[in-house]
Symmetry: C2
Subunit: 300 residues, 2 copies
Amino acid sequence: MTAEIIDGKAFAAGVRARVGEEVARLKQGHGITPGLAVILVGEDPASQVYVKNKGLQTVEAGMNSYEHKLPADVSEEELSALIERLNADEAVHGILCQFPVPDHLSETEIVARIDPAKDVDGLHVENIGLLASGQQGMVPCTPLGCLMLLRDRLGDLSGKEALVIGRSNLMGKPMGQLLLRDSCTVTIAHSRTADLAAVARRADIVVAAVGRAQMVKGDWLKPGATVIDVGINRIPAPERGEGKTRLVGDCDFDSCAEVAGAITPVPGGVGPMTIACLLANTLTACCRANGLPAPEGLTA
Amino acid sequence: MTAEIIDGKAFAAGVRARVGEEVARLKQGHGITPGLAVILVGEDPASQVYVKNKGLQTVEAGMNSYEHKLPADVSEEELSALIERLNADEAVHGILCQFPVPDHLSETEIVARIDPAKDVDGLHVENIGLLASGQQGMVPCTPLGCLMLLRDRLGDLSGKEALVIGRSNLMGKPMGQLLLRDSCTVTIAHSRTADLAAVARRADIVVAAVGRAQMVKGDWLKPGATVIDVGINRIPAPERGEGKTRLVGDCDFDSCAEVAGAITPVPGGVGPMTIACLLANTLTACCRANGLPAPEGLTA
């Protein structure tokens, strides 16, 4: 068997286009433009690239983008005051603070200050609680993106055996909640799991989110399984020249692609879904803030 | 194999005794007496029995018990005002409202009004979020009781394959979180699970919480598995006389006891742990409210 390659880049472009259409409809029908505020503290180069991309894609979808760049030594009080202003600002429907932040600031406390209804990263403890109890809230972007890819590939997920490898708060745990909500039989495995290969072999769906390069091997998979690879690991690539590197996932792509029914590549799989889902979440938050039904298929 | 019967009644008595010792220490060392406030709306006979038992056991453990009985037609405003008073009352460390409440009241809104730090039932969305993200909060009593029985029987749970059957917000989901926190490989199964018997057969730990009498059969179990039966179902018992009934769990006790290594009976297994853990939670909440370390082994 040779797996179908799930083109996350194309799928994400489709999600962004759909968000754009719904934004246009909101503007025309209700005179409302969704707005996303992004806070960047300091000058971390990678963060600057992310924030720039988020801003570009936000505007491309027809939404307003508000960037707030704060110096690396900004006080907790100033940052809190900004978040309070954004919480109160009716033009802002989504707020996110780009992490990591400098050491003198607490990520937990920053997230706790964001109005849960505007927490488009889905990190606020209230949103975690809503997700964990099957209630409506804001869902973290990357797990939401994985769910969209799975639903697109498999249709109804009910009754499927799903394995999530990794139990992080950002990815593994919310992914498990989402798969459970879609009525999968859900297993969460992690570094203490006794025989991960055996556990993986029983799964129709494998979501790998451990951050260990090429850990999941093809002979761990049930033939035909759908594999979502969330890992992004940089490894040496001497074949490309001295000192060169390349990106790989948590799955050993070549061997997995021989057994799986479908698999996401790295890069170009889950990665592009994250910002697409951030835009989708901002649209959803905007609709809810205005008492309008959120568009279907863009949240969990 | 004939399973060891896990005596939840005796274990719960031990937990209550331990809570009593810690309460005595708090009184002597710090002049603090933990207090539990229970709100009962209306005159449901079963609820009256529960509340009375809670009150008796609270006092027996040396804590203060405050019972607030409200008429069935109490307004939401009056109930909310009571909760606000209890939230502000420094002598009250735990608050619970006995459910069900009459239809004109919303259980979700009642729970949302309780200060999460005093939510000894662990039902507040903030406590659900804290549990789901591995942070310190108040943990629901029945799952906590199951965890205590498992730790007592098995010691370190790390790496064990645990199956939770049932995905309710009160039991299945928090149980899964607790087992994951103790580093089990956790599977959550439910009514949509394709082959529950096969899923059960791979588990070292089975927690059954579905509310279906005698559903789990002995030949579904891995020999030596530890079985925690959370179900309490009343079934006809004609062998005891015409019209007689008896209580059974979600597991078919006789066949399961032949395969399991240990199993909780119904009644006398998980049941008595719930109030014991309510007392433990009240003690924990009291210690935290006073900036004192919570006693070990009495929470997750």
